[in-house]
């Protein structure tokens, strides 16, 4: 070591690409803990597809209700979207809350040139990366199960990523307002689980009683599942419907990010 | 200058000498604790008399906490004999613990409960009735000045408040013997003084206190008698005053030199005072009269940056006994 670096000129906290430092930190952590997430990422889709898609699917006597495709083919994109939702929501809850409260990672960050904006954007990027991994692995597994047959199936990948990010960023915005972690399990039980079960994941929403069916249209996972499934199966590629589904998911990301800026700032700049 | 043997009146007053007349509350002979091959406590002997405030003084890792846990009947000993409240903690743990109050080194408060609930349920662990537990809890909250936080959860409390709550909790069963493991470590000065004041009141009421500390001032404030531990062994025993008189001088002259100068002083300090200790950042000279030595040093042409005369303390005793300072 010969030269001592001259002090960098003050840049008012603005990085050229906001959020990249925060993303770097997330990736660094992930490099250490990815083995722990391995089960959720790879094994649980295999288990779900085997149990529900193959074994339970063998009990389905008539596939017309499932768009005329084998139950496994119907189920796979549904589970993929639901898994994306779950992963996104988890990433927006406990690990994020730890950064606010238990580990105080974010307090440490804003003591450096990193700004709240960097933290929000970095977290958003991280959600994209994490979901790309989770849904990407799922794609491969489902493909090997023979669940994907349409030439457009690879378009289901970005669709599932967006679905997961939409839930992740909205949950993150909310998590920043929480003082304790108590309510997370309530969210999972009363929001995530019902969405998982009633958004067309396991059966078409036409099976729901007519009086409650319209509610599904207002549940964000329904749109994510519908979009992912249409692309994966390659049926019903009606551009208007697909456009509506996509708009709902993108709208959620936009709104979630907008509020995340507000709630993160309120939490960290005090 | 009084010799060490004349320093015993305090010991006598606190029961150290008259121990033959009164059965000690704690008696340890050859007490040993091993973790695998590591010896944490190496065959130590001590007695604690009823009503006494007894201290274990020593640096981190000296074996204080291991000793306390054995006394508290939560850690089986590896060798030697130990009697607490007249019985063997390895055999009658539950009945001993029923009469102990314990303030562990790290707070073991129930963070899922509120301040008041912590005291209530702790009372129940000792089989107090709810009514009894509640009335004692109220009294104790008053005693440690936490009554306005009764329904707060534990987590948001400051370190000092948690410590006071732990002390209140340890008193819920009106213990005969209170074990305090580093009761004020990590507290700010104000909180420390409040804790000391409360412990002093307990002592006045006749509660037997056993505490560990690595703070000299704490030991001097609270302890009638103490043992100095280092590397799993007891290296000295006595009252704070007698230890200072036995192992140190009345005064200490502290000299601080500009950076780099201290290393060049070879020989120039010889003969000053009774003893010279060189620490990394300063030189300590032990003498009956610090001012005299300061003048002598000046005559020798020594020009320290600062020079301070102070009373000798247990810190100096420890330095003398182990050659190391207490808090590194």
């Amino acid at each position: 070591m010969t030269a001592i670096a001259p002090p960098a000129p003050a840049r008012g906290g603005a990085f050229k690409f906001p959020g990249l430092r925060k993303l770097e930190q997330s990736l660094l952590v992930y490099r250490r803990v990815w083995r722990g997430t391995f089960f959720g990422t790879l094994v649980s889709p295999v288990l779900f597809l085997t149990a529900m898609g193959v074994a339970l699917g063998s009990l389905v006597p008539n596939i017309t209700a499932f768009g005329g495709v084998p139950y496994l083919v119907f189920l796979a994109p549904g589970i993929m979207s639901a898994q994306a939702m779950q992963t996104g929501t988890v990433e927006g809850s406990w690990p994020l809350f730890a950064g606010f409260k238990w580990l105080k990672t974010f307090d440490a960050m804003i003591a450096t040139p990193i700004t709240v904006r960097d933290i929000v954007l970095g977290h958003l990027y991280w959600l994209f990366v994490r979901l790309a991994i989770v849904t990407g692995v799922f794609m491969v597994v489902a493909f090997l199960f023979g669940a994907f047959r349409s030439p457009t199936f690879f378009l289901a990948w970005p669709s599932a990523i967006l679905t997961g990010v939409a839930f992740g960023i909205c949950m993150s915005a909310w998590t920043a307002t929480r003082k304790t972690e108590q309510s997370f399990s309530i969210i999972f039980r009363f929001v995530v689980t019902p969405l998982f079960l009633f958004s067309g994941t396991f059966f078409p929403i036409e099976q729901l009683p007519e009086t409650v069916r319209w509610i599904a249209w207002f549940t964000p996972l329904f749109h994510g599942v519908a979009l992912t499934r249409s692309l994966a199966i390659g049926h019903d590629l009606d551009l208007l419907t697909l456009g509506i589904h996509l708009a709902v998911v993108l709208g959620m990301i936009a709104i979630g990010t907008f509020f995340a800026f507000k709630t993160f700032k309120k939490r960290l700049v005090i | 200058m009084p010799g060490p043997e004349s320093a015993t009146p305090l010991q006598a007053a606190s029961g150290g000498v008259s121990g033959a007349a009164r059965e000690p509350l704690i008696r340890a002979r050859g007490l040993t604790k091993k973790f695998g091959t590591f010896v944490a406590v190496d065959a130590i002997d001590f007695d604690v008399a009823p009503g006494e405030a007894f201290g274990f003084l020593g640096p981190n890792g000296a074996g204080k906490t291991s000793t306390m846990r054995m006394i508290g009947a939560v850690s089986p000993r590896s060798g030697g004999d130990l009697s607490v409240l007249g019985t063997d903690p390895d055999k009658n743990g539950a009945s001993i613990r029923a009469r102990l109050g314990v303030v562990p080194q790290l707070d073991t408060l129930d963070t899922e409960l509120t301040v008041l609930e912590n005291l209530l349920i702790y009372g129940r662990y000792f089989d107090l009735s709810y009514a009894e537990a509640r009335s004692r809890a109220m009294e104790l909250l008053e005693f440690v000045q936490l009554n306005d936080r009764a329904s707060s959860l534990v987590e948001p409390l400051s370190g000092g408040m948690k410590r006071r709550l732990t002390i209140a909790r340890s008193l819920i069963n009106e213990p005969d013997l209170l074990l305090l493991d580093e009761p004020t470590t990590g507290l700010d000065p104000q909180a420390r003084h409040l804790v000391w004041d409360r412990l002093y009141r307990l002592k006045q009421r006749g509660t037997t206190l056993v505490l560990t500390t690595h703070y000299m001032d704490e030991a001097e404030q609270l302890c009638d008698r103490l043992v100095v531990m280092d590397k799993a062994k007891i290296v000295a025993e006595g009252s704070p005053r007698s230890l200072i008189e036995q192992y140190s001088t009345k005064e200490v002259l502290e000299l601080r030199f500009p950076v780099g100068v201290q290393e060049t002083l070879d020989g120039q300090l010889d003969g000053l005072g009774e003893r010279v200790e060189k620490l990394p950042d300063r030189v300590l000279i032990y003498a009956a009269d610090g001012e005299d030595v300061a003048a002598a040093a000046h005559e020798r042409g020594l020009r320290p940056e600062t020079s301070l005369v102070r009373r000798s303390s247990l810190e100096d005793v420890f330095l003398r006994l182990t050659g190391r300072s207490l808090i590194e």
């Binding site: 649980s44 339970l56 006597p61 396991f202 | 939560v74 089986p76 743990g93 408060l109 129930d110």
Partner: protein
């Protein structure tokens, strides 16, 4: 080694264990919503999978081989699973108490022994399982999913599952070092949930696999509860009961040993 920690590690606790229940009741008063909400999880599954998907499946082979509506088949399995999940959730709480909160260390400074804590926690989990069982069973009766009057015995059956799995969960958490390790519980419970004859009869499996599944504790629980609600009861149910009871006792014993090692160093 003089003496021993024997008195400390009485494996099955004493009357003092009741204080652990009192302690948990304090928490329940504030956090009842979390516990209460656990009741809804099986209900959602029942509506979604049992009825929603079930309407497209129709009937499946029940315990005696005769065809029964899919919801009647799935409901008892969801009850059994809820008992297991509730117990596992409780053991994650115990993990935080054991590793991070040090609340157990505080308890051990009192006349309480490790066995008291282990037993108290497991009994608490048991009571909680009873609560869930009662609620869900009432829903099942109301929806006409319990063809047999023997169905009321599904309640003690679900408590037995809670007891066995809570004890096992407690042993598991004594081996865990960080909260990341808690995911390992999920590694065990998810396959159990999916493959223990919950959603489809184990006759769907090829032979060697079926025998393996028959050793799974949740399969024994599902088998027991389903036998009660459908009224098809036989010798196998005796095996179920003995299996779960022995498992619970064994793991409470191991748990107190393990906790003793951890807490009484």
């Amino acid at each position: 080694m003089t003496g021993s920690a024997v008195t400390h590690v009485l494996p099955f606790g004493s009357r003092h264990s009741v204080h652990i229940l009192e302690r948990n009741r304090f928490i329940f008063r504030r956090g009842w919503m979390v516990i209460f909400s656990g009741f809804f999880e099986p209900l959602f599954y029942l509506l979604g999978i049992g009825f929603g998907l079930g309407s497209l499946i129709g009937t499946v082979a029940g315990p005696d081989g005769s065809q029964i509506p899919y919801a009647v088949f799935v409901a008892p399995a969801l009850l059994a699973t809820a008992s297991m999940n509730g117990a596992v959730y409780d053991s994650t709480n115990m993990f935080f108490r054991l590793r991070y909160e040090k609340a157990y260390d505080g308890m051990l400074a009192t006349p309480l022994n490790v066995g008291d804590i282990a037993l108290g926690e497991v009994v608490w989990a048991l009571g909680r399982g009873a609560l869930y069982g009662l609620g869900f069973l009432a829903v099942m009766f109301a929806m006409g999913l319990v063809p047999s009057g023997m169905g009321i015995f599904a309640l003690p059956a679900s408590m037995l599952i809670g007891f066995a799995t809570a004890a096992a969960g407690l042993v598991a958490v004594t081996f865990m070092r960080s909260w990341q390790d808690l995911d390992l519980l999920f590694v065990v419970t998810l396959p159990l949930f999916l493959f223990s004859g919950t959603f489809f009869p184990i006759t769907t499996y090829p032979e060697p696999l079926r025998t393996i599944v028959e050793f799974s504790p949740l399969y024994r629980g599902v088998d027991l509860v389903r036998a009660m609600t459908t009224g098809v009861i036989g010798f196998t149910q005796l095996i179920d009961v003995l299996y779960l009871f022995a498992m619970g006792l064994l793991f409470v014993f191991i748990a107190s040993r393990r906790m003793g090692k951890m807490l009484l160093k």
